[in-house]
Point group: C2
Chain length 308, copies 2
């Protein structure tokens, strides 16, 4: 992939990034796709190691994502029901096959495999051929300080606190000491294009950028770097992006997204024009496979044009 | 329970001991029953802490044991199926609600609860009112050396090796360093009767006796100590008791069982007469609740007679 510069790299967090990755897989083929995934939301629970963003992306790429937006399609919840019957406060819901996936990862990690190697084995078992790379094999955890609940680990903020309350602080604990995923850095260096997915810039992409090495790699690469705005029709489609943007004193617009990424970007894909930056203005909704493919193809054409 | 000497103590391992405990619960009421359970078969797997004998006994006492002889009635196996689909060699089968039970125990142990306290909470949640006491809160592990497979942990010998091959060695690793369950020792001291269940003497009861303190407590108590023979009609009803008895150079008869327990016993309950020891000769099959209750009541009358 290095010399021919065919490879596409997507930086991704939650559902928006995963959908774009799925579209890119159709556009260039899974073999040419590398997705660098946020691991700041990871959580150890039920004896399992849950890595929500890498897993979400893997399930999307394997076409096994459930309609509800997380977990495996058609999964059952017998273990969670069993825990509830034992009086456990089950605040973090995990399907049975999802649990199997996360228990098997915990077992592999316990045997010394890296998170990257463990995810590669799991993903291969469900037919993913793209590379889904955790941003780091070292632990990084996103913590959120909200007016209502104080400091919470990300999943607790999202689920227990329902992402309510004004955000007053955001930390990516461990990021400064973490080493970036070497395969991810190499993929950025040798890519045809780098696309930052339409994920929450603060909660999903900032943790990746907080790991030393990624900003430098994105600066140094010859490949164009573009972001797909997660803001559609002036609205955030999913999740608490607006309150995170407000915390960072950014407009919840494509312009605010461009502000956040700053010098890193060669262009932006959005449904509104960002005057000071090369903009591909297009319908950025990704509701079906055709839309995901169209946006991916348009984005790649845009990056190719930026490069020439 | 101490002064009135109403309490009944059952020492138990697998299904035979659990069935007797269930009968005793009907005979004297769960509140007066203490079951001391073998923990030599415990295994940590799937991020869970599995304690087969204490769990089997708890499920029997809660009337939630499955027809297959282990696990919870009507349990599903979605997580195991998920693991298989990921390419995992699932040699140790565990239902989803059974897994929930064992994951919750692992969580409690991780938070510093003792195995005894963890089991008490779990058992209470499913309605068990008898006390089911792990023989020790310290780790003891039964290892079996077979001609065919060498040294195996007990579950591996039973499941992976299907308990085949001549047994050439048996070790209760950790037993010498283990402290006996203090509640169990107190229950023995203050009991109306101590009944060693019809469990495999070598694999299920010997681990309990290997923990320092139990032999002395059984010797010192004023309560009669009797064993119910696991050999029925000259046959072992379940499991590899015969090969364990052969390893210990014991006849696979009530006489051999009496030989194994030796001076510890004041009497034996069996379907054949053991001349040199007070014997309650009766039909020891426990196929239904009525039979389990009858044997329990006969055994208690026998121990009361031995005492007077």
């Amino acid at each position: 992939m290095g010399v021919s510069r065919e490879g596409v790299v997507v930086l991704a967090g939650g559902t928006g990034g995963a959908k774009l990755a799925r579209g890119m897989a159709d556009a260039v083929g899974q073999e040419l796709l590398t997705v660098i995934a946020n691991t700041g939301d990871d959580i150890e629970i039920y004896g399992a190691y849950v890595s929500p963003d890498p897993d979400l992306i893997s399930f999307w790429l394997a076409d096994t994502i459930d309609e509800r937006g997380w977990g495996l399609r058609g999964d059952t919840f017998e273990v969670m029901e069993g825990l509830r019957q034992l009086g456990v406060d089950v605040w973090f819901n995990l399907g049975d096959r999802d649990l199997a996936w996360c228990l098997e990862r915990a077992r592999m990690l316990g045997h010394g495999l890296s998170p990257t190697a463990a995810l590669a084995r799991l993903s291969e078992a469900i037919g993913v051929r793209a590379r889904v790379l955790p941003m780091s094999d070292d632990p990084v955890r996103t913590w959120v300080h909200s007016a209502s609940a104080g400091w919470c680990a990300f999943q607790e903020f999202m689920i227990r606190e329902r992402a309510t309350g004004q955000i007053e602080g955001l930390e990516f604990r461990g990021a400064e000491q973490a080493a970036p995923n070497a395969d991810a850095i190499a993929a950025i260096a040798g890519a045809r294009a780098i696309v930052i997915g339409p994920s929450n810039p603060l909660a999903s992409i900032a943790p990746i950028l907080a790991v030393p090495g990624f900003r430098e790699a994105l600066h140094d690469t010859d490949a164009p770097v573009v972001a797909v705005s997660p803001i559609v029709g002036g609205q955030v489609l999913k999740g608490p992006t607006a309150s995170f943007m407000a915390f960072a004193a950014l407009d919840c617009t494509a312009d605010g997204v461009a502000d956040f990424y700053g010098e890193m970007l060669d262009g932006i894909v959005a449904d509104e024009n960002v005057g000071r930056l090369a903009t591909l203005q297009t319908d950025t909704r990704m509701d079906d496979p055709a839309a995901r493919l169209r946006i991916s193809e348009e984005t790649l054409a845009f990056t190719d044009a930026l490069r020439s």
